[in-house]
């Protein structure tokens, strides 16, 4: 099961610096662990996160095996106009999760 929680301010003034927070559920299995009987537990991680505003990329992060489960990201951007943020997480085994949130800029 996957779920995502995002936090974008509903309103901002033009030019404001706003903080965006994004949390998604994922086991982030490193690929370096073994079972009790010695078999490698296959790697299963998120490899990339992207945030777009009205189609334009505003933030991207690549992930590697040392990231904790359920990765949490927070970053800042400039509120220029009203519109929609789209979030996308992509990972191993065809993992894909999306979410979106709108902001009103006055």
């Amino acid at each position: 099961m996957t779920a995502a929680l995002i936090n974008v301010p509903k309103k901002a003034k033009a030019g404001d610096i706003i903080e965006i927070k994004a949390l998604t559920s994922h086991v982030m299995e490193t690929g370096y662990r073994h079972t009790a009987t010695g078999e490698v537990i296959p790697r299963d991680i998120i490899t990339s996160f992207t945030c777009r505003f009205e189609g334009d990329e505003v933030f991207r992060a690549d992930f590697f095996p040392a990231t904790a489960a359920n990765p949490f990201i927070s970053f800042f951007t400039n509120a220029s106009k009203s519109g929609k943020f789209d979030f996308e997480w992509i990972g191993d085994n065809g993992f894909s999760q999306t979410a979106s949130a709108s902001i009103t800029v006055e």
Binding site: M1, L5, N7, F72
Partner: protein
């Protein structure tokens, strides 16, 4: 060999300031009771307080989806019988474990949910500590967030609460130490860098950063029993439920925090 190991472990506890003393069972007065939350650093408290940074909320979202999903040969979802959890499940976690007449024993919230699966949905019980059961339990318990713990007063339950108290007070394991020695007598100290805390069961299931996942109160209790180097109980064992009952009685009136974050 065994004696040497015991001496080494005992000296470790003494270094930590936990000197085995005669059992005085100083129960914590109501005015001094504190949730594990108050022992955490500012960052971890902030993580719990914000529903968009608290990873336990992901479990709540998954639990809500499962609540509405049909399961078992009865073809019913939880919502099919209990409708809106926000209404029907409000306050339930604050009075669990509760007495089940049919089984003549107390059941915790996980067990109640599994009884609904077997009795009412004709579905297989969900496995302990697997995400589905944790998510459903977290979703149900979150409906009681902020409500005071009000233990079930059923008379049949009281002998089990008393047994839970005995277990809590009883020295056991290679360390010959009781829950009370840490959680009543030394809650203001640290053990290997971790705050000992008062063992208040206010936030379960919790998201424990060390586990990188949600976990039940029974998982936490089993961790502490391993720490005592005592024979552990299986998930669902009546002894664990008795301990849960006593912990809830001991935390009477404290608000439910589910899903809490713990280090």
């Amino acid at each position: 060999m065994k004696a040497t190991a015991t001496i080494v472990l005992t000296s470790l506890l003494i270094v930590a300031g936990i000197v085995p003393r005669p059992l005085i069972a100083t129960e914590i007065p109501a005015s001094e009771r504190r949730s594990g939350y108050t022992f955490m650093g500012a960052e971890t408290r902030a993580m719990q307080d914000d529903d968009t940074t608290n990873p336990g909320m992901l479990g709540v979202l998954d639990g809500e989806a499962l609540w509405n999903r049909k399961a078992g040969s009865a073809g019913k979802s939880c919502a099919g019988c209990h409708q809106d959890a926000k209404v029907t499940m409000k306050g339930v976690a604050a009075r669990y474990p509760a007495y089940d007449k049919e089984l003549s024993r107390p059941v915790n919230l996980e067990q109640r949910i599994n009884l609904c699966r077997t009795r009412h949905q004709q579905a297989e019980p969900l496995a302990y500590e697997k995400h589905e059961l944790l998510a459903l339990t977290t979703y149900v318990a979150e409906q009681s967030r902020g409500m005071p713990i009000t233990p079930d007063p059923t008379p049949e339950l009281q002998p089990f609460v008393a047994k839970g108290r005995d277990l809590f007070m009883h020295r056991q394991g290679q360390l010959n130490i009781a829950c009370t020695n840490c959680h009543d007598d030394n809650w203001d100290k640290h053990l290997a860098g971790a705050a000992i805390t008062q063992a208040m069961p206010t936030g379960y299931p919790i998201y424990r950063l060390d586990w990188q996942s949600l976990g039940s109160l029974e998982r936490r209790l089993r961790n502490c029993i391993t720490g005592q180097r005592a024979q552990n109980y299986d998930y669902g064992a009546v002894e664990l439920v008795e301990l849960e009952l006593y912990l809830m009685a001991r935390a009477r009136g404290m608000p439910i925090e589910t899903p809490a974050v713990r280090p």
